[in-house]
Point group: D2
Chain length 364, copies 4
């Protein structure tokens, strides 16, 4: 195997604007099983977009960006179909920001999945995600870019949201090398991105390098409690919310928990009014990733009137659900929340979160 | 449904010391499928315990403690079969520490799984994890205990490891209300516990309350980069390592990544020499939780000589594998790493990590 | 719950002719995971249709017809995209033939999935398939129709293929009450349908009633060995074959086995040249349903050049793959095999299977 | 790879008599998830054995015998813990009868699972079942033995049950080459075995060869309707029944359906009073294999008072559940049904099924 042969076919991102799947999804509504569930999930997402009180939180777990879903989510941000993102670190840093730096993901030959070639891949500095390849050398540059960004920041605790905003600013400044980037679109549309386990990815490598160099000196740290506090504040300021969850894991748990966190802070907020999850995780091992949204309602986190789980791998269900809502077009009359503005300290050093009128949020 | 009726049958934790499963597991070695894999995983774990150079990292994801596996892991820590723990927050805070405060998990009636009673459960302040119930009022006390611990700490960034050590100290001081506690045993045996997504649990609620009260004043923050840095340092000081992973998610990713992080810090360390994962996650969605350990070897994280995935829900496979190694008894001649001592600042304010001879680690 | 309310929304069958999914599937080709696999499966199916030497065998397991996929398969038969069908009995008798008699499947309210209403459903004579309902009284009429068909046949052993042909003749004679029927289209297009476990469905009820009434008198029996013999003969007469398998189970095993059966009969035939399987079954329990097509190649059953498994629930993947091949349109220049003619005894009582020139098969 | 190296380690069958798992299973009763379900399933099976009115039907799907579970089921038959078996053909013919002829299954090297060596295996005449190997040449002898048995039988339609009884008689006559055989034990204990898709295995190859040789002459055929009729008669004669299902597929469907079949024949019988299923199949694709036992109750097939699904691969759950019931020992005072005697024609050519008093069944 030669490295050049292995990385000649790039992953291409699905473009929801090019495929009007509305009739297709509507034809699934009176079928059964996953098709029916998918159609109902698409309807609920469409309803979220039409509910102008609703803040929409997108949760991402799994290797979604490397799989060709980057443009779907970037488009959704551009089209004000998403107001906040909660994600695993890999999607945001190792995959989206990585591509924004000019690097790519590659379609690996089918036989690599057997696992019999992984030692060879390691020799070639190629990392494998199931059927997809990444150049490890490129990834190291991504790690190092994170380190540079950290080096340039004032040393203090940051929420991952703040740090990711700096990554967006970096792209704005240096130029984004790709037409679509979640980090960059989010930066430009004031959509906050949270990675509650931010060290668990390329960002971790960069930050460890930063902290190692700083030694006993003041350094940047990532305060995951601040992440939670910030997202909770958004819920408190915008009580009607909906979740679109792709996969489970930390993002699902984190985003669901803010309802309870608001209550802990003394403000009763309604449960998430809408909730969709696309997953293949099994319910029977009791783990959160596969746990039903009804179970979440016992915890007071998710209302059950508009909830739908779709049993499907994401590369099939995400293009259809997002494409449906895109082509239904109700986002055209929706105002994005621009929640980043709500969270960011004003020039005078105050957080305007608590005081700012909600109207300000709605009409940035 | 009356609340009292629903929480009268406590979950009972499996006691590996009471069941010599060695013959049972050995009888599975020449069967096929999960039985054979389970026997091989048990053999590899036993080999880890016999390899006196090997530091053993236990990774926990899923609702394991509420499911009756607490005593297994507490025993493993006591018996020097584990040198560090990387876990989701729920296992450590909402479930283990929660029980250490005197609260319990309850066997729910079978029909609750249908999801049809979750609204009633919410009214009763009962949270459901598939077939198991928790009193939400108790959980709020747990949240608040975390807040109190945070309030008493010097305001600065902490690794989750440091914070969890404070939770252990709290139990030591106030009394642990249960015979077995992972947090407490880890505290007493200098076994560090890392929760890389520490806000994603009851700890998050307590810390949000703490930060909210502090307002603009100095406050405790949780530095997830520091977690990663600390665990990487352990790998650098103790290059031979093995992973026992129950479930996937952030703990799996985090623990695997330290091999690369060490390299980023300029020290070539070997891949994890041993790796076991118990999971029901599917490999075909490309997500990390179900990704093979061979795939991890393409990333340079896990060696493939002694790796084994076991396709089983954890409540079946964990008692058998840990019970096997317990009754094989090689832990009796093993010296625990007492890694917490390696990480903790000495009285003079220096980290002795870099300087301390490895012998010190081996013979605390 | 009132019965009338529960069965007012019929399942509607997906119509591949109405949705040109070619661009959609092509856009998935350079994504990853299930999307990429689905695109490759669609390409392989398209290749089968273009390979004029290839006889195409469709294998059906799972509740596919009740789920809204009937019209897809009926269309594929009409369009000469399928030359033989191997199915579980339920799809063919309880679901397709049942609808051809004028009965329907109904979209059940979401809460039925909880399983908490099944006793009530039983009282109402409603049978549940996950989220779908059937009127048990209608099903009894279907059972009885099978009994009548058996009563009118000459008493002797029949292959399920022969019996199902009689069901098609029944529909031809009495009128098919629905625009699309697999049984009827297959009858009219000389596409043989095999149900190797034919008693395992509504047909079983009718045949048991028939045999019970006949007592010691001569009766119709269903010879599953004859089924196997017939399908093997088709393979021997038409050595190049491809399988499109939806689900696993008996149909998968049965259709794969004919390669070996031909060899047992003294004729070396090539392995199935093409093989696609859509399934969510796990590979790790060692059962056939989830076993890889590579594994089948160790048995000498399936070639591995053009094989693809797609990890997806069928209601999502079947419309996309069949729709792709339909709109690519290569079936327009393909000649159907009309294999039923090959198997059926001629007027003079001889089977023309062994003697008839293959040309005859190709140009009925 | 050399063939001799690949088949030197035989699969060894688990021996429930050697492992008293009662305390282990009892310790799982108040855990959660699969452990709790497994303990409850074991309790229900134990209850079946204690209910002297209950006829126990064991359903087998998946590659269970090759996986090392043969001795478990043979022991269960010997100990009167099973009154009838419904199975896929492979377990009974290709695997159990195959071993009774003196052939074996072999532990394959781990890397074979990658699928990368299947072409080599084919060259070596080695068939792979996930991690296990079979010598194809041996399998052909098994096929041919079936042909011989068919050749010696009077040409007429047989139920698979009748044919399998002849296989038992063959072993009795020629000598069973292994200490444990389901077919042989069933023969000697008058336990009927049904394979409703009997051609879907090695038996199919033998029978196809038989029918091919016979040409137009009278031949043995396998009447799957007769299978269904016979099992239904057993239900009618012994209304209280319990199912222990390993896997799903045709055996599950077939055994559940007999309740309805009895009704079709004009006799109201109770639903199966007890039902256990061990499976990893997912419920969400709507297929029967993973469908809940509650769903079956909507069809009037399974009562829901004593039903339990266990989410586990069979090699883990079968030894524990059967071992539990074996060591509880209630089978010692149970009388086997000896149902084969009920079905078999008497010397005078009459079926005594309908007339014989039930007492005769209970005390053969």
């Amino acid at each position: 195997m030669r490295k050049a042969d292995l990385i000649k076919t790039p992953v291409e991102h699905f473009d929801i604007t090019q495929h009007n799947v509305v009739p297709l999804v509507e034809a699934m509504r009176q079928m059964a099983f996953s098709a029916r569930d998918l159609a109902r999930a698409a309807d609920i997402y469409d309803r979220m977009v039409q509910d102008h009180d609703c803040g929409i939180i997108l949760c991402l777990a799994g290797s979604l960006i490397s799989a060709g879903l980057k443009k779907v989510f970037a488009e959704a941000i551009r089209c004000r179909m998403v107001d906040a993102v909660v994600s695993t670190g890999a999607n945001i840093v190792d995959q989206d920001f990585f591509e924004a730096l000019g690097f790519g993901h590659y379609v690996g030959p089918e036989e690599l999945r057997s696992g019999m070639f992984d030692a060879e891949l390691r020799e070639l500095h190629l990392d494998r995600i199931y059927d997809t390849l990444i150049d490890e050398d490129d990834l190291r540059i991504c790690d190092d870019t994170i380190r540079q960004i950290a080096d340039e920041l004032e040393p203090r605790p940051y929420s991952s949201r703040e740090f990711i905003k700096s990554m967006g600013a970096y792209l704005e400044r240096k130029g984004c090398k790709t037409a679509d980037s979640i980090v960059w679109e989010a930066y430009r549309n004031d959509v906050p991105i949270f990675c509650p386990a931010f060290s668990d990815c390329s960002a971790g490598f960069g930050l460890v390098a930063h902290q190692h160099e700083r030694g006993e000196r003041a350094k940047v740290s990532i305060d995951s409690a601040k992440d939670f506090y910030e997202l909770t504040q958004l819920k408190m300021r915008n009580p009607t919310t909906g979740l679109f969850m792709v996969g489970g894991g930390v993002p699902k748990n984190f985003a669901q928990d803010i309802v309870v966190a608001a209550e802990v802070l003394g403000q009763d907020v309604p449960m998430h009014k809408y909730a969709i999850q696309i997953t293949v995780a099994d319910v029977r091992d009791g783990a959160l990733s596969g746990s039903t949204l009804k179970e979440a309602s016992s915890w007071g986190k998710v209302d059950t009137t508009f909830e739908q789980m779709v049993y499907s791998e994401a590369t099939l269900a995400v293009p259809l659900t997002f494409g449906f809502v895109y082509h239904r077009g109700h986002w055209k009359t929706r105002t994005g929340r621009r929640w980043s503005q709500l969270l960011e300290p004003l020039a005078d050093g105050q957080t305007r979160g608590a005081e700012a009128p909600l109207e300000l949020v709605k009409n940035p």
